[in-house]
């Protein structure tokens, strides 16, 4: 039993699941109706789901998608990409500028999305080459696009905040007529399933972790660390473009200054809360996604408690500190030892075998 508990403490999912559980319990105690979901009719006359739970799932989808890419980067490069939000602003600007030059139809949207993916992958590759080929710390390398990215978006937009509106776009950012679930949630699920299949049927996950844990060993075993790192940045580029386009569709305009503002910090937090060590190595994709939902759940809870929006950050920081204290290796060890001491009389220590 002591061993089982120890094993449980060692798994990466325990902290994110536990914190999500705590937030849910806290909300249920505070207000039983917090998680009630109702069906309302939106202004287009379609029945849609509504409620805090839906708004948590919906609001976190952009950060959750970006955290998938960030997990790969964190795991393989032992560092974080702080330019994701700026690159998302660039991708969103490309998306909008293509949409504004044509009549908005489904093929045009797909074309615009693919083009913004391409641009975003190019910018991500710039980061990737600095990190993988020139061996620069990821945080430093991405500081370049962090400071210049939004200005490039400004330049693409020509200094304005152009708007786009079409029923097709609001279907992507909001609801598809006839389906009561918000489309960003569906896109998020599709993304997660795709990545899970890739991880299940290819060696991508193994290669990424090997490069993150020991680059030299990976090299000796015939894995080229440069390609693995570049691939992580390509995946991140696609994720970032998707997140940027979803956000543009949701709000119907591109504002290079405020699009996904401070999202890079939320994404890195999501990865850290999700149990992936920021120093690279073993990763947990589902943990990162759960981390994104934890952050959004926290924000929605604070808003529901009538905390002013500017002060939310302070409370968020306090909760995050508590979460990371519990996930700290020192505290974990302490808890395990405490547990052992408490149950020493009852649990026989297993015989040292194998």
């Amino acid at each position: 039993m002591g061993n089982g508990f120890k094993k449980l403490m060692r798994t990466q999912l325990v902290i994110p699941l536990f914190s999500l559980f705590l937030i849910i319990v806290f909300n249920l105690i505070r207000d039983v109706g917090f998680f009630s979901i109702s069906i309302v009719t939106n202004n287009q006359g379609n029945p849609v789901l509504s409620g805090n739970l839906i708004s948590i799932l919906n609001g976190a989808s952009a950060v959750a998608i970006m955290s998938i890419g960030m997990t790969f980067i964190t795991s393989s490069c032992k560092g974080q990409d702080i330019s994701v939000a700026a690159v998302a602003a660039i991708a969103g600007s490309v998306f909008v500028s293509v949409l504004r030059s044509y009549e908005i139809t489904v093929p045009v949207i797909i074309y615009a999305f693919l083009l913004s993916c391409l641009i975003s992958v190019v910018f991500s590759m710039f980061n990737g080459i600095l990190v993988a080929v020139f061996k620069i710390q990821p945080m430093i390398a991405t500081l370049i696009l962090f400071s210049a990215g939004r200005s490039i978006a400004y330049w693409i937009n020509g200094g304005a905040t152009p708007t786009v509106s079409s029923p097709l776009l609001s279907a992507i950012g909001g609801f598809i007529p006839g389906i009561p679930v918000p489309t960003p949630i569906i896109i998020m699920i599709i993304f997660l399933v795709l990545i899970s299949l890739v991880l299940r049927f290819t060696t991508l996950g193994l290669y990424t972790q090997v490069v993150g844990i020991n680059e030299g060993t990976a090299h000796l075993n015939g894995i080229n660390p440069v390609w693995v790192k570049l691939l992580a940045f390509v995946i991140s580029g696609v994720c970032v473009a998707t997140a940027g386009c979803i956000t543009v569709c949701r709000i119907g305009l591109i504002n290079h200054e405020t699009l996904l503002l401070d999202a890079e910090m939320d994404v890195i937090l999501a990865v850290a809360i999700g149990g992936t060590a920021l120093s690279g190595g073993k990763f947990n994709l589902y943990g990162s996604v759960i981390g994104a939902y934890i952050i959004q759940a926290l924000t929605v809870t604070l808003f529901a408690m009538k905390v002013p929006s500017a002060a939310v950050k302070a409370y968020k920081a306090a909760v995050i500190i508590i979460i990371v204290i519990f996930s700290s290796p020192v505290v974990k060890e302490f808890v395990v030892n405490l547990y052992k001491k408490m149950f020493k009389s009852r649990v026989k220590t297993p015989v040292k075998a194998s």
């Binding site: 600095l130 370049i144 400071s147 990215g149 400004y154 920021l278 002060a311 302070a314 700290s328």
Partner: protein
């Protein structure tokens, strides 16, 4: 490199190679001097005015102080991104204390030090004793500070306390340096008291890093924390003090910022943490730790701000040009450092390149 007094020849002793820290610092200093000299020749005007040079310090003394604290943390191999948040929090708390609670100037200064120390202590304990990643801890610190500002006061506040205003309007005249106004009268150049504080801090930290046991321990830990531990250095305590000092300096930086602007505002010192990191990188401090110097940081900050002045002087006034050039400049320095360090480590530039980029005579090892 010791010079012989008589002949001026270098001694025959085998020369000790210049350390990475000094090499990177020399590059930064040369770049800044070269950049400023070119600006003086090409654009003249404002760049020839000593006051404009001193204004670089007047406007950015707070940034210099944050960056100095960050240098120590970065040398030890960590990161602290809470500087801007703490600075802004200190400005707001001090103004509210001076205005609403009848505070004194000395009291407000003590408060700024107290806030900085409190943040530094918490960061230090969490990072070095509980082994939590520094990025996350200081990110939370930044969020907390930024959030607390709006809890203290949502509206921006301006200080009207008499004693404080006297201190704020105090200027230190530099003898013998100045410029001629339009009517031909000599106007001496002035600096704010905050600049004196910043310069004293730079010198103090340079001395700490160079001559104290704590400073040398920081380099040892940043170079290889495991070897440092086996050498008997108390790694945890040294790291702890680095974060405490960084927090304390952020607090002082807040007071200097307040002396410069005289207002508490949630938007104060936005992006200061990223600019501080950029100053450090340009100044030759590596995020991997073990390499760096505060003198380099000083020139890194000056380069970062001079390039903005040059962009404005050359007529590119659109705001996006400034951040794009800042990005390009960072890119240049980062690549330069990467190449230089790789060359020094491996002895040749070719080895830095990946296999498929190697062409020419030797062509690397061919796979069979």
């Amino acid at each position: 490199m010791k010079k012989n007094l008589l002949g001026g020849r270098t001694e025959k002793k085998p020369r000790e190679p210049i350390s990475n820290t000094n090499l990177l610092m020399t590059i930064t200093v040369c770049t800044f001097v070269g950049m400023y000299a070119i600006a003086m020749i090409v654009w003249g005007g404002g760049f020839l005015n000593p006051q404009q040079f001193l204004d670089l310090f007047n406007n950015n003394a707070y940034l210099l102080i944050i960056a100095c604290g960050l240098t120590m943390v970065m040398i030890s191999g960590g990161i602290d991104i809470s500087g801007g948040g703490i600075t802004a929090l200190v400005t707001m708390v001090c103004v509210v204390y001076l205005e609403d609670h009848g505070g004194t100037v000395a009291g407000s200064f003590l408060i700024s030090i107290g806030i900085g120390l409190a943040f530094g202590l918490v960061h230090g304990i969490l990072i070095s004793y509980l082994e939590i990643q520094p990025f996350i801890v200081t990110l939370a610190g930044m969020f907390f500070a930024r959030g607390m500002i709006t809890i203290v006061s949502i509206a921006p506040r301006t200080a009207t306390h008499e004693g404080f205003l006297r201190l704020k309007q105090l200027r230190v005249t530099i003898p013998g340096v100045g410029y001629y106004g339009k009517t031909g009268n000599f106007i001496p150049a002035k600096v704010e008291p905050g600049v004196i504080v910043a310069i004293v801090i730079v010198i103090a930290i340079a001395a700490i890093l160079k001559w104290t046991r704590f400073g040398r321990n920081l380099y040892a830990i940043g170079g290889n924390s495991h070897s440092a531990l086996t050498l008997g250095i108390n790694v945890k305590r040294t790291k702890f003090f680095a974060y405490v000092l960084a927090g304390l300096l952020s607090g002082i930086s807040g007071y200097v910022y307040l002396l410069h602007t005289g207002a508490g505002d949630a938007a104060n010192a936005t992006q200061a943490e990223m600019q501080a990191i950029a100053s450090n990188i340009i100044g030759g401090t590596l995020l991997t730790g073990g390499v760096g110097n505060v003198i380099g940081t000083l020139f890194g900050m000056l380069s970062l701000k001079t390039i903005t002045n040059i962009i404005i002087a050359s007529g590119l006034t659109k705001p996006y040009y400034q951040s794009i050039t800042t990005g390009l400049m960072l890119c240049f320095f980062i690549l330069l450092q990467s190449v230089i360090l790789a060359v020094r480590e491996k002895g040749s530039f070719r080895l830095l390149l990946p296999e498929w980029l190697k062409f020419g005579k030797t062509g690397g090892t061919k796979s069979g």
